[in-house]
Symmetry: D2
Subunit: 337 residues, 4 copies
């Protein structure tokens, strides 16, 4: 039985709390910490079986009964809390991204050096049934050598310009998941990135210094070419697809829908839109990733997504930004870590 | 080179004229006959390469240069002209149905006895790419022994009540194609038919003594169970599907559309309706059936759809009517021929 | 908070136990009873939060703290336990079928007369996302008046001949779900049933007096025609589809799959098989039906599936058997209740 | 009636000959010219209704009865014969590309200056039912402003290395069609091109100085971003798809197949592969483009694809090559014309 402390009771913190309490057999939550803990949240947590709720996460770090920390606090605190938690001897599951600052990620890497503690980053999409089926087809050799990897990733609604301004930009906030997916499906790192981007959805995003539409081409270390297309606004909902083309075939996924019902009438043949919200679309993946984290602790094996897997997509995001600024392909090796 | 005379220049007569002139390599039309031959039609025919147009089809029957007669006249003349043509030593391609009257079909059967002449009936759907793919899957053993055969056959628009009154009824006018399809896919005859039918589309059809909606269950000689569902009016267009389920699998077809374009927007994910009109949907099958007829003449082999194949669906239609009247399953053997 | 006692810790009893403990907010289980309760099951139940496990279900019936009884015992005990539970003042959720014997169902109906207790039967498929989407389309008027209702229901594996012999036959064991679905989608009762059936999967099933393949046609009270096709063995898995065709359109569902991944290679374009097992396919529906039962108790409203909804499919199954025996369409009114 | 002379009796010359003779109402072929005219080809042409066959195409140019010339000769002769034909007062339909050399295209542009003659280039895919449906959806405003245009274009088999060496390279030989499609769908020109390419299919292609796999990103003048992915070898057949994503929706096409039959068995749910060969896939487009050319002559209107539409994809191909050589995004304005 792995005992968790969860830090952060926002949207994703609640998702993990519920999933650990309800769906993860060998795990329980002793403490949920949030500086703005409300009474309502505290009651909700207790009903789920959380032992206590606190405001100061240091109560988690200093609690010898807690084995593992789930970091769901605001992005800029991920890396310092990671370091503190490691120093306190806790296993860490850290929501993505570890940080947007490479220096701060480096501190986490250093803190882990020589340690036996487990560290996992929350790129949950790897544990989605569709993307996992694509990966399994590749691993099973069904498409031969990958030649072209295509990721479509479009949000149903753009963020507010305010959020865009502090989010680190689309590449570090949204595309970062796709960068992880490209690495996962290719089975290797990117060598070079080129971005063609634009502000087509909301001029305010452009005024905030960000973009909302992009096509990103990547040269992978194994020779495959990857391409990600992003938009901050797909009116038909959350569009999350992958297609991998190789020497012996292609594997591709479609979006998930609430039902398979199709209506045929005088207007055409109409099926349902994709599941609209990332929590609907990826719900199962949130428990699957934590289940694997718990398993890694119990069996003392590697987590499926270690600190370096958390670092790489950030490097890719920084390279993507540089590609936009300098309007040229950028090698990953140009980004110093 | 097979020289044709075409009798009847209505809709289907024109389809065959065009297809023989343009698409059938070893065939040509010498004469097109129609009692109401218009100047416009005559010009159209000549532009296609038809040598002459006449009013009296006997000019075709008496022409020693003509090898084969294509009968596209009104239904009640199919069998007498068939008999005349056979007696004149012509091969005959007869549009469906040969007749609604079993006695008159019998005369055609007799006329053919001992003859080397080729006779083919125009159940064109057997030569449609989708239905042929289903048949090929069955023949190749891909579904094992057929257990359940399902045909969906729905028209885009009901006939006028006047037409319904003289059409022989839905079973002999519309379902007759499906009866042929069931025999084709099962690879054997039906033993017994039960009909559950209703007037749900247009009360005038009911007043004319016909039905417009039906589910027809058939016990086939090989033990398979077949089911046809018919409607005279599908608002989304011409619905023509088959599904055959067997011991080792299932093969099924979808409708054809004008394009594969799919629109995703705030209303859903919408593809095109089925091709609306039977001439669009089945166009290729009209030349394919005649090509096989020409081949049978040239190679002196059996036509793919002989006079008995023309008879059987009429027997089935008569049994279907009897099932409705007597509200019970009817054995095909009850229908005297 | 509704407190449950669960009677029966077999497969379906465990499904409900887990789902009440994990997924139903306002419900808990005080007692789980099974005459063959194992230590393993008892531990599993306690880990889920079940207060106690017992062998004799009377401990549930006599416990004043228990509001509702979930009957998951063997089929022949459903109706007597229902009666006992009602007499003990408990709300009852009874797994399908209430009984195969109409007289015994009548006793449950009588026990409920004048009572305010809630009774619900476990035809879970109504609460499946796909079938519910079909129903919603109908209710919203999207297809106009239903004309033809088609249910495809095929199991992945036949039961053993031993099971077939005691199961009440395919119509009461398997088709009973489809009978309920037809009533649900049509929004009315069946008037008449005709069955064409066969033994095509396993001769031993025939020797046991049952059939394994059937096409069942139903005339519904609203004039629609329904057709169910059943097979005990679909090699590609659990085939569960519905199609409803009406005056203004058609709504249809496809099977659910584990992922949307499609492989394109030299052999064709291949997607995943349907979910193989009914527990995978319908898992969510098991918690949704119980959630609605709990809601009906809390709000003192009708359950979505009362005792008469449990009775009707049994009547239909008996009519279906009679149709096979007498080889004719059978009116529901012929079956005395 | 437009009288054609066809120059070149190779594969594509035969396609156009057959389609003009059989499918284009207001057109006929007087002369078919080919320096290597065989007796077999001459007979085939006559059977189709071609008046004469010759070896020297100048017989066509000097024939006052011929209105229009269809140029299907080898690529390097397209532009000089175009110039000669224009000077001889003939309308010209020229197979793609006009030339790989911009100077030679310039000569055609000059020859047309001030002339009323019609000139059309054979980018047939614009007249394919699927791509036209995508274009129509865009034109009808169904997707709003285009943001991301995606073209997948993969051949079933790579060319021989010998062919690759003389073909002008993949971008001018294969991608040139996709460049035209991007212009067609965007409704404007490209501003800038970036290519990420590789040799993954056949090292011999690389040794011949060409590539066989590429992802090409284009910035369009209207702000949209386009991306083309190419491979010389898709084992599942000819993969030809488009997806256009915009402010109000997305429209996308799938591949065409020989039938809609889908087989469900223990191995999965398998549909047919895409039509394998470009002549199968695009056959109808070859007659549609010529029909529009004939219409432009008859009505004295613009052809749908004039000489500048023939030029632009060549410019794009040259920019693509430069992008590979210099490993950077290349502006179209850098390519002097």
């Amino acid at each position: 039985m792995v005992t968790f402390g969860v830090i952060g009771a926002g949207r994703i913190g609640k998702v993990h709390t519920e999933s650990i309490c309800l769906h993860i057999k060998n795990a329980k939550i002793k403490t949920l910490a949030d500086p703005f803990m409300t009474e309502e949240t505290a009651e909700w947590a207790k009903a789920l079986g959380v032992e206590q709720t606190v405001k100061d996460y240091h109560e988690i770090l200093s609690d010898p009964e807690i084995d593992a920390v789930m970091i769901c606090s605001s992005t800029n605190t991920h890396s310092p809390i990671s370091v503190e938690a490691i120093q306190a001897g806790k296993h860490v599951f850290c929501e993505k991204p570890i940080d947007h600052d490479l220096g701060k990620i480096k501190e986490v890497v250093k803190a882990l050096e020589g340690s036996k503690l487990k560290y996992q980053v929350g790129f949950n999409r790897r544990f989605d049934h569709n993307f996992e089926a694509v990966k399994n087809a590749i691993t099973a050799g069904k498409i031969g050598d990958p030649h072209i990897i295509k990721i479509t990733s479009r949000d149903p609604e753009p963020p507010s310009a305010e959020y865009a301004a502090v989010s680190g930009g689309m590449f570090l906030d949204m595309t970062i998941h796709d960068f992880d997916m490209v690495r996962y499906l290719a089975g290797c790192d990117a060598e070079e990135i080129y971005v063609q981007s634009a502000v087509l959805v909301d001029p305010a995003i452009g005024e905030a210094g960000d973009v909302d539409t992009a096509v990103i081409t990547l040269k992978m270390e194994n020779g495959a070419i990857a391409v990600i297309d992003n938009s901050r606004k797909a009116v038909y909902g959350y569009d999350q697809r992958a297609e991998v083309f190789g020497s012996r075939g292609m594997v591709a996924t479609a979006n998930d829908t609430a039902s398979s019902a199709v209506l045929s009438n005088a207007d055409g043949i109409t099926g349902e839109k994709p599941l609209y919200f990332f929590l609907e679309r990826y719900m199962e993946s949130f428990s699957r990733e934590v289940r694997l984290f718990v398993e890694a602790i119990e069996k003392d094996t590697e987590t499926p997504l270690g600190v370096m897997d958390g670092l790489k997509p950030v490097l890719m995001g920084i390279a993507a930004k540089k590609s936009v600024e300098e309007h040229r392909p950028v090698k990953l090796s140009e980004i110093a870590f």
